[in-house]
């Protein structure tokens, strides 16, 4: 029975991988060729991918008997889920399929990272130390999932904005047949990006706070300035600065787009960079693994 579930989980992972990968190519094909069929396929594939992604997460939950949020592999699955979920919501709500061409590659690259850097033994359900057995951890990661997903989408929007303004800035009125012509008007992209960040910022705050509550239960210290925590604070400050600069100095458009890129770089660094580049993770990093996202 367990082996069966295990196989099903593995299959879900590969279905998801295939779906997201193909989906990315169909998105590119769609903005390249403008064939409606391509776009349809892209959308269907992202839905198939999301379903498989959900299945992989739920199966992991059943196998491990706990929320699947306890090692890098599981968190990355949740991260991708968040990205695609937020993206699909925006595609549906704002009829903005062209965004997919810029968001799907993020999911794809994370999947590649999983495949290349994590052996099968890192991907299976592992025993977790007592410190990770906390319901706060679940809140912590669920909020991270949605806020990081939204930040990834705003990053995609930022790229679109910069591409479009780059094209239009060259003087030639945007080629009506070019790829860029698929993009909505500049100020629509810009405002959508602001909305997405406005949605995600409170969630990021909640994520940091639930992390602090959890740490306080586990170690009696709500904030210990460990690199993960600190980088999540830096990310938070970048987005806070984005919001304020926009409000007070009318930082819209190009500058705002760069800020979304900057902010997402900080998100990624908080997750990957801290684990792989920074020295001196402290003593309880062993019992407090990559999860302080």
């Amino acid at each position: 029975m367990d082996q069966g579930l295990q196989n099903l989980e593995t299959s879900s992972f590969y279905v998801m991988l295939m779906a997201y990968t193909l989906c990315m190519f169909f998105h590119w094909a769609w903005i390249g060729t403008k064939k409606e069929l391509m776009g349809r396929f892209a959308t269907y594939l992202s839905i198939v991918g999301l379903v498989a992604n959900t299945a992989a997460i739920i199966l992991r939950m059943i196998i491990a008997g706990r929320p699947p949020l306890s090692n890098s592999y599981e968190f990355l699955l949740a991260f991708i889920w968040g990205i695609i979920f937020v993206y699909l919501f925006i595609e549906y709500r704002y009829k903005l399929r062209s965004l997919g061409a810029f968001v799907m590659p993020i999911a794809f690259l994370i999947l590649m990272f999983i495949i290349m850097s994590m052996g099968p033994e890192e991907r299976i359900a592992q025993a977790i130390p007592p410190a990770l057995k906390s319901k706060w951890l679940t809140f912590h990661v669920v909020t991270a999932m949605f806020s990081y997903g939204a930040f990834a989408t705003s990053f995609g929007l930022g790229i679109m904005y910069l591409l479009k303004i780059g094209e239009e800035g060259k003087g030639k009125k945007s080629n009506p047949h070019g790829i860029i012509s698929r993009f909505p008007a500049l100020d629509i992209i810009d405002e959508l990006s602001y909305k997405v960040i406005g949605f995600a910022f409170p969630l990021l705050t909640l994520c940091i706070i639930t992390g602090a509550i959890w740490a306080n239960y586990a170690w009696g210290t709500y904030w210990s300035w460990d690199p993960k925590e600190t980088w999540s604070l830096i990310t938070w400050i970048i987005y806070a600065a984005y919001l304020h600069a926009r409000l007070m100095y009318g930082w819209k458009g190009k500058r705002a787009a760069w800020m979304t890129i900057f902010g997402f770089a900080a998100v990624l660094f908080t997750f990957f960079g801290v684990n792989y580049f920074l020295p001196g993770l402290h003593s309880y990093a062993i019992s407090q693994p990559n999860i302080l996202v």
Binding site: P130, G198, F201, P202, W219, G220, W225, L233, I237, G280
Partner: protein, 434 residues
């Protein structure tokens, strides 16, 4: 002279109420925090922090978050936030509770706008009806040449940013309370021991309480599938010789008594033994890997447990005995449960059973409630700012001939126009339908 002094005060006030300073300070906090993640910090990794070059250590780079500079930065940020909040209070109040209907059509300057023609009274009733039904608070002014109104919905949304700003100051106050009051300590105790709270080792602060902690048992429990369940400590609080509280704690499930919180943070195996000296029998507990030692009274002999196999049926202990300051053990060996051995002809030693050692983090942090209050306010403020944006609709009716006239309606769209446009259109549609 007085004039000039006021000038300076005003200047400082102006600097501190500016968001430019706020953004610069936030940027600096981010920058300094980032630098702190590149240098090993003394509170997290004391060993590595000591290896960093002398200059950096002196400049505080290895304890960046507790340097005067960093605290100054936080302090300035708080002053900035307070000043800016005081400055903006009146304005927010007026925009929320003291809204004035527009005087003329030219006051309805807004991107989102509509004009409706109709008769004065029916239109007025319809506007009132529709706006009230949609949750707006309405103020109407009647003049000679018509009437005007202003209406607000989700008006608490206006307070979001102010609440977020104050919450940050509350958070910092909570953190200051935590660092200046309270204490942080650690105890490693075996099952069966009673420890006066003020005898444990503290890394910060002083312990003023005088109760004792009794450890009934310390267990490393496993699930049927072999995975670790949790570490459990059955403990009691003893005040003036009577037990006032007893509870089993585990990781993530601490116990708080009179402001002091006990967190299960680690666990070590141990063994309980009986020492048979010539004239007395002593029960002792030794911790695995030489975590503690036993010096038999009247001797120079030190006994440690080098390794313990904590099989409940068949515990085994590898022991070492040292004499005086000698670095080489004078006696080593293995002792099984129930077995008795002789130690250097001075005493006899019997291994009785396993005994757990529990590692408890002990803290008193009076600021923690203030920090949670700050967090709650921050979330409330952000929620109001981003998910509860207020919407203001205003309009002026100007009569032409007789009772006929034209109503110009607009909305102050604030920061985003998207959803507001839709909501406005719906209102206009409803008003027209009447």
């Amino acid at each position: 002279m007085k004039e000039q002094r006021e000038g300076i005060v005003e200047y400082i006030w102006r600097v501190f109420s500016s968001m430019k300073l706020g953004l610069i300070l936030l940027g600096l906090v981010a920058l300094v925090s980032g630098v702190g993640t590149v240098f090993p910090q003394a509170n997290l990794d004391p060993g590595k922090a000591k290896e960093v070059g002398e200059i950096w250590q002196t400049l505080g780079f290895t304890q960046i978050y507790s340097t005067v500079w960093f605290r100054l930065l936080m302090g300035l940020l708080c002053i900035n936030l307070v000043v800016c909040s005081i400055q903006r209070f009146q304005g927010i109040y007026n925009r929320t509770f003291a809204l004035k209907p527009p005087v003329s059509v030219s006051n309805v300057f807004s991107k989102i706008k509509a004009k409706l023609a109709g008769e004065s009274e029916p239109l007025k009733i319809s506007v009132q009806d529709v706006l009230k039904r949609n949750g707006f608070k309405l103020t109407i002014n009647s003049g000679d040449n018509g009437w005007s109104f202003i209406a607000i919905k989700r008006r608490l949304g206006n307070w979001g940013s102010l609440i977020s700003h104050i919450s940050f100051v509350v958070l910092v106050i909570g953190a200051i309370l935590g660092t200046t009051m309270g204490f942080k300590g650690f105890m490693m105790s075996s099952a069966g021991s009673t420890v006066p709270i003020n005898s444990i080792s503290v890394s910060k602060g002083r312990i003023n309480q005088d109760f004792s902690v009794r450890i009934y048992s310390a267990e490393d429990r496993f699930l049927p599938n072999g995975e670790r369940d949790n570490w459990y400590t059955d403990m009691g609080i003893i005040e003036n010789g009577t037990e006032v509280l007893r509870k089993t704690i585990s990781v993530n499930h601490p116990l708080t008594y009179r402001g002091v919180t006990f967190y299960q943070s680690s666990f070590a195996n141990g063994a309980s033994l009986t020492v048979d000296l010539k004239d007395q029998k002593l029960p002792i507990v030794l911790q695995d890997h030489g975590g503690n030692y036993f010096q038999a009274p009247g001797t120079e002999l030190y006994l440690i447990a080098a390794a313990i196999k904590s099989d409940p049926q068949k515990p085994i202990m590898l022991y070492q005995v040292y004499r005086g300051k000698g670095v080489q053990p004078v006696q080593t060996g293995q002792i099984n449960a129930g077995e008795t051995i002789d130690v250097q002809g001075e005493y006899k030693l019997t291994l009785e059973a396993n005994a757990g050692f529990t590692g408890l983090q002990v803290k008193q942090d009076p600021g923690v409630m203030v920090v949670w209050l700050g967090c709650a306010l921050l979330l409330l403020g952000l929620f109001l700012s981003f998910y509860w944006r207020s919407m203001v609709v205003l309009g002026v009716f100007e009569s032409g001939q007789g009772t006929e006239g034209e109503l110009t309606m607009g909305t102050m769209a604030g920061k985003v126009t998207g959803g507001v446009q839709e909501e406005f259109d719906r209102l206009i549609h409803d008003i027209q339908a009447k």
